[in-house]
């Protein structure tokens, strides 16, 4: 902790860490100094000059070097002749600041007058109106009239589209550069710049497509004027009449696209979502949202929504009553007996998932349930239950004494919010080791870049672990107090020294050793691992060992987490929607049920299937026959998906904003969302409600009448979730914390700021013991010159996102991306088609060329239209050897 410095602001004494800027010190005592260019999340530039204040320091006698005192014995303050910018003047001991001196107020008025000479004051037709800092500050400090009587910037270009999502009105821009700094510093997408000089200066995007960033929407939030606005909300720009900001009703919610569970506000107007804004949660998304979350809400109002139960008769769906549909389901489920299986998507709320497993286990007496559709869901492991990341972990605060070991994940695509936070940690000095088989965006900031051969990530981890034990870098206290089996592990690892794994991983032994040292020596260490590292027990065991021997477990800012694919993948595992575990990771008492993989094999032997919020056929087209051959299939969803088309009964569910519920993010943080709008019709029911109704028809006497009622039962039944009562989850953060962090003061929308609740892992219990496990890695390196890698991407072919017209151009189309030299070797150029053949299948794809890709990799994302990559994968790993033929 740095030294505290005490100063006086407007006569009030305040102590802040040395190096703090005056503006932040003033915030601490509730003095808000007006400013445009400064933003506490961005670097300081000091250009708008609105925050000028009067500053003085104690006078010192030059000869004696003693402070000069007045007759009363108080130090004499010497005020600087010039006003100082509060945003970029650091505090010093004994300093005195007057925030509203006569001179400062005059300066403020002067600067506002200057700014308004180049601002059109077109507030009546500006989307920012009502939550606009320029409007607010002009109201508070402006002259009330302008002496500038010339043609304003009206002639500057208006409505310049910066890509599909953002519109720039240059005549409103006051060149504060917040947008540019956000893109450069937070997002790492260097796509904006200032062009020209002086008054001709303007913000430009120099990429093609324009403003090419997954995070661009955030610039519309931090723009202190209406220069950057979103096309989605823009006044009268879309086909709907515009709505003013103050007409919106703001409801707190959680992103259904984000595995971090980004907090957001749904701005609704007459029962419709009109915009999505971030809701500050410093532990999750700070004040940012991805464009996918911000603009992907249109599925709610889609005209393709299911509005009534449908029953298939003679191959055609007919609208039915809930009464008829439920009766039919009860009869058929009853008939199926034990030959029934259920698949529930990881987008469902915790309440839905809990009741889903309860229906199967308690009413239908079956363990045949799963949420993992082939490889698209959680990597099955116990690491989250055993270790996870420590409670209170805040990647948003990680700094110099910390290290992050990122293994096999492109966070920018797979966990965009986590990408922003990891990038921020690196900026603050956290050491990032980025290991993957190919270039990923975090390589631009990573301290150590490790490029392993696909399939050898486990060897890399073993090599690092061997180094740590060999050099005695393990956390000896932790090893002594809480671990067993260290000697056995040491013996086993003799076969995996850095020298021995250098060949198979393709990484130099010294580099492995250095990475191991960096990770072991850091005070805090976090391992994040994704599917590009592999998907086997040997890998998980090796990651577990690495975390344990370094003692990076069971405490804040330490631990392990998988990069889970969906917003509630964690909750689905926590609440037992897996064939072998009950809620809370208890093993099933009786026989282990069928996994999704088994249920989706052609000869699965099931008579009935209940599929909730999972477009299985859309995601993996090869599963079609398994569903077709099932006698009775119920699909419960928002849309007539490819899977629903095969069903016998289709049930219309409520979308997230139409109901309440909770999600558990990949850091095990449980967060609730509130109902904001009504469903298209009253015949759409919440998933938990439908499940309860089915259970009722089958004779169960459940009494759930609300999602929080279900959560109440979960808190009683599942000890992991015992603190997750709605009361706890909806508790606003303390006033003190709010003052510390709250940034959005001055903006018109309000919504509760909550931080959610994390459940404790086994490691959190300081009395728990761990046995080190070693599992010999199987050599499952793809035996091929070319390896197909199929990671998830942000803009996938999902049903919900495809309802957002505004994002349509961003949705990725299936293609095979190759390195230039491979393309050259095969005489391929952009747009050509290749045939990719693996041991599983063969598909034709158009190619793209990417100079950053290694020569042995062909990249084809999963979850795209037609599930092309899935047809080549063997259902075990997301990489596989392929042959390419022109």
């Amino acid at each position: 902790m740095s030294d505290l410095v005490t100063l006086k602001i407007d006569g009030i004494e305040v102590s802040v860490p040395a190096g703090t800027m005056i503006i932040e010190a003033a915030n601490k005592i509730g003095r808000e100094i007006p400013v445009f260019c400064y933003h506490s999340k961005l670097s300081t530039v000091g250009v708008c000059r609105v925050c000028l204040v009067k500053v003085g320091t104690p006078g010192f006698d030059r000869a004696t070097r003693q402070p000069i005192l007045d007759v009363a014995g108080n130090p004499v303050i010497r005020f600087f002749p010039k006003p100082m910018p509060a945003c970029s003047t650091p505090v010093s001991a004994g300093m005195e600041v007057i925030t509203e001196s006569k001179e400062s107020l005059a300066d403020r008025q002067a600067i506002l007058e200057f700014l308004l000479t180049s601002h059109p004051l077109d507030c009546p037709v500006c989307d920012k109106g009502g939550e606009c800092p320029l409007q607010d500050l002009t109201y508070a400090h402006g002259r009330g009239e302008s002496r500038f009587e010339y043609q304003r910037k009206h002639t500057s270009p208006k409505k310049i589209p910066l890509g599909d999502l953002i519109v720039l009105d240059t005549e409103r821009c006051i060149i504060c550069t917040r947008c540019i700094r956000f893109q450069d510093e937070i997002a790492g997408d260097h796509v904006l710049a200032i062009e020209n000089r002086g008054r001709d200066a303007k913000v430009v995007s120099y990429t093609e497509p324009k403003f090419d960033s997954k995070y661009s929407g955030n610039t519309t939030d931090i723009c202190p004027v209406g220069a950057l606005t979103s096309r989605d909300f823009r006044f009268k720009d879309m086909n709907k009449p515009g709505v003013r900001i103050w007409e919106l009703t703001n409801v707190p919610s959680i992103s259904n696209y984000c595995n971090m569970g980004s907090n957001l506000v749904l701005g609704t107007h007459v029962g419709e979502i009109r915009r999505v804004m971030p809701r500050q949660n410093e532990l999750v998304n700070e004040i940012w949202l991805t464009n996918k979350t911000r603009f992907g809400h249109h599925f709610h109002s889609s005209s393709h929504r299911l509005t009534a139960p449908l029953i298939k008769e003679n191959g055609k769906f007919k609208q039915a009553t809930w009464e008829d549909a439920l009766s039919l389901i009860a009869t058929k489920f009853h008939e199926a007996g034990e030959h029934i299986g259920g698949i529930a998507g990881p987008h469902l709320s915790n309440e839905d998932l809990y009741l889903f497993q309860k229906l199967f286990r308690e009413v239908l007496n079956s363990n045949n349930i799963d949420h993992r559709i082939c490889l698209n869901s959680a990597i099955d492991d116990d690491l989250a239950y055993e270790i996870g990341v420590g409670i209170g972990t805040d990647i948003g605060q990680l700094a110099e004494n910390s290290a992050i070991f990122l293994l096999g994940s492109d966070l920018d695509e797979e966990a965009s919010m986590l990408y922003l936070r990891v990038r921020g940690a690196v900026r603050r000095g956290c050491h990032l080791i980025n290991a993957n088989g190919r270039y990923t965006k975090l390589d631009t900031v990573a301290n150590t870049k490790l490029r392993y051969n696909y399939g050898s990530a486990v060897h890399l981890v073993l090599g690092m672990t061997a180094t740590i034990l060999d050099e005695g870098l393990e956390d000896k206290n932790f090893v002594y107090a809480r671990l067993e089996g260290i000697d056995k592990l040491k013996t086993k690892l003799q076969a995996y020294t850095p020298e021995k794994v250098a060949d198979i991983t393709g990484i130099d032994a010294d580099i492995i050793r250095q990475a191991a040292r960096d990770f072991a020596k850091a005070e805090n260490g976090i391992i994040l691992y994704g599917a590009e590292a592999g998907n086997d027990t040997a890998l998980h065991a090796s990651i577990r060992n690495l975390a344990l021997i370094t003692g990076h477990v069971g405490k804040k800012d330490n631990g392990v987490t998988a990069i889970l694919p969906h917003c509630n993948s964690r909750g689905a595992a926590d609440l037992g929607v897996i064939p072998h575990r009950l809620p809370g990771y208890h093993p099933v008492a009786d026989e282990i049920g069928m996994s999704a993989k088994e249920m989706l094999q052609p000869n699965h032997g099931l008579q009935a299937m209940y599929i909730v919020a999972a477009d299985i056929v859309g995601e993996v087209v090869t599963c079609k026959s398994a569903i077709e051959t099932t006698d009775f299939v119920v699909v419960q969803d928002l849309f007539m998906t490819e899977t629903a088309k095969l069903a016998d009964v289709v049930l219309p569910a409520k979308a997230i904003a139409e109901r309440d519920g909770s999600y558990t993010n990949l850091e095990r943080r449980v967060q609730v969302y509130d109902p904001a709008i009504l469903s298209p019709t009253p015949t759409c029911w919440a998933d938990w409600h439908i499940i309860t109704a089915i259970a009722g028809r089958l004779g169960a006497e459940w009494t759930h009448a609300s999602a929080d009622g279900v959560m109440q039962e979960i808190t009683e039944q599942v000890s992991l979730y015992k603190h997750m009562s709605f009361e706890n989850l909806t508790k606003p953060i303390s006033l003190e914390r709010k003052r510390q962090h709250y940034i959005y003061s001055g903006m018109s929308f309000t919504a509760d700021v909550r931080e959610g609740v994390q459940w404790a892992t086994r490691a959190e219990n300081q009395a728990s013991f761990f046995e080190l496990k070693f599992i010999e890695p199987e050599n499952d390196m793809p035996q091929s010159d070319i390896i197909l890698v199929a990671p998830r991407v942000a803009y996938d072919g999902g049903m919900l996102i495809s309802q957002a017209e505004i994002l349509a151009n961003l949705i990725q189309q299936p293609k095979a991306t190759l390195s230039p030299s491979v393309a050259q070797r095969l005489s391929l150029s952009k747009g050509d088609t290749v045939q990719l053949t693996s041991s599983v299948g063969s598909v034709a794809l158009p190619i793209a060329i990417d100079g950053k890709l290694p020569d042995n990799v062909v990249l084809t994302p999963r979850n795209l239209a037609g599930s092309v990559a899935e047809q080549l994968l063997d259902g075990h790993n997301i990489f596989i050897g392929v042959k390419i033929v022109h």
């Binding site: 000059r49 600067i111 700014l115 002496r147 060149i175």
Partner: protein, 419 residues
């Protein structure tokens, strides 16, 4: 006898010695002797100390003591850079151009001495974009220095090695401001940085950096060679030494003149400059291009040193005197200068970006006969709103032409007011 105050040129030696831009001629006339002295019998600290004792003040305009600047370089941080500010853009200033074009080896020797003193191994010369012709002889001189073992590895067979790189800007006045220069040199937009950190702590590529003007560095070799006592014989107690004065405007003999600091302005204009071409009386003199307040006739007897100029409510700056005779309409002159500042404002901070634009608009209105007397006061008010509020000196200086001309020549404005 060069002039009444100086027996021979110290900086513009090209005026005394033909072809001194050739390395052999330069060496034959004592060139690189100072470097030899520094490298063989002095240590870096002593070099800095001599410059400090000589109280060589920065010739770019601010007048900050060069030796003090050098001593701010932290001893333990490497690398250290020397950056030579050759972005001579102040209207009416053309001294560095002559130094680099006609006596380039003295500049180079000064750079090497500075680098030796502060422990730098790389020096960058940042030249004004329009200086591409001037850079031809300078580049040639640098090549000659390399060929003679005066640059590169083991200079003069000592342990000291250094390189000089030339870089031309794209033509922006603001890049004469040292931090904007650094941004431009790094490839960013030419806009000033916040200070602190000062360049001595975090300058080029965030490393300790000394930035000196070309003329400042040209003073170093004679100081090292002859000692600080010799140097302090020239000039005044607080403004010691020799300075080049660029004289232009309505004078018979415009050009660069070398004089000790503290010489009378009247001597420069009337004896050296030969008075006005037209023979008409002088109306006003700009002492430092467009940036400094104009000198009205009552101050024509001022001495040309930092302190005396300040007493006359102006600054010495880069010492470029633009003389205007009675025929000049001072409102017209101010409009030209306001246009210049509006054109050169980088746009980073609001008061400079918007203020200069507004000033120009009001000036246009007055000069086109559409103004009222309110507009003259408005000009003053706008300048007040800019003063002390700008990010860097550009915006602060931009108000000088208007304020000084309104103060001393208000009638030139009033004659446009017909409404």
């Amino acid at each position: 006898m060069t002039n009444k105050y100086l027996d021979k040129h110290v900086l513009l030696r090209n005026k005394d010695i033909p072809n001194i831009r050739d390395i052999n001629v330069y060496i034959a006339h004592g060139g690189y002797d100072a470097l030899k002295k520094a490298l063989t019998v002095m240590n870096p600290g002593e070099v800095t100390q001599v410059v400090k004792t000589a109280n060589l003040r920065g010739r770019g305009g601010a007048g900050f003591p060069a030796g003090v600047k050098w001593s701010f370089i932290p001893p333990n941080v490497k690398p250290v850079y020397v950056v030579v500010n050759a972005d001579e853009s102040e209207p009416g200033t053309f001294k560095d151009r002559e130094l680099m074009g006609e006596n380039p080896h003295q500049v180079i020797e000064g750079i090497i001495l500075c680098a030796f003193a502060v422990g730098a191994e790389r020096a960058y010369i940042y030249g004004r974009g329009e200086f591409k012709n001037t850079f031809v002889p300078l580049k040639k001189a640098i090549d000659e220095a390399y060929n003679n073992g005066l640059l590169g590895k083991n200079i003069m067979n000592t342990d000291f090695s250094m390189d000089i790189f030339l870089h031309l800007g794209a033509g922006a006045y603001i890049c004469g401001e040292e931090t904007a220069l650094l941004n431009s040199l790094e490839g960013y937009m030419g806009q000033p940085r916040s200070r602190p950190p000062f360049p001595a702590a975090e300058g080029l590529y965030a490393k300790p950096t000394v930035i000196n003007n070309v003329e400042t560095l040209s003073n170093v070799p004679p100081i090292i060679l002859n000692g600080s006592d010799w140097y302090r014989r020239y000039g005044t107690e607080r403004s010691p030494g020799i300075k080049i004065f660029s004289l232009s405007g309505h004078v018979k003999n415009p050009g660069n003149y070398e004089l000790p600091l503290g010489a009378p302005l009247r001597y420069l204009i009337e004896e050296l400059g030969g008075g006005t071409m037209s023979g008409l009386p002088i109306k006003g003199i700009l002492p430092a291009g467009a940036s400094a307040p104009m000198i009205p006739p009552e101050h024509f007897d001022v001495m040309m040193d930092y302190e005396s100029m300040a007493e006359a409510n102006t600054t010495l700056g880069s010492a470029s005197f633009i003389v205007m005779d009675e025929t000049v309409d001072m409102a017209w002159a101010a409009e030209k200068m306001v246009h210049f500042f509006k054109h050169e404002s980088c746009g980073k901070c609001s008061p400079c970006r918007e203020g200069n634009y507004w000033l120009e608009q009001v000036m246009h209105r007055i000069r086109s006969g559409k103004g009222t007397s309110f507009d003259i006061d408005l000009l003053t008010k706008i300048t007040h709103q800019m003063t002390d509020n700008c990010f860097c000196p550009l915006g602060e200086f931009a108000v000088n032409p208007i304020n000084a001309t309104i103060k001393h020549f208000r009638s030139d404005y009033e004659k446009y007011i017909t409404l």
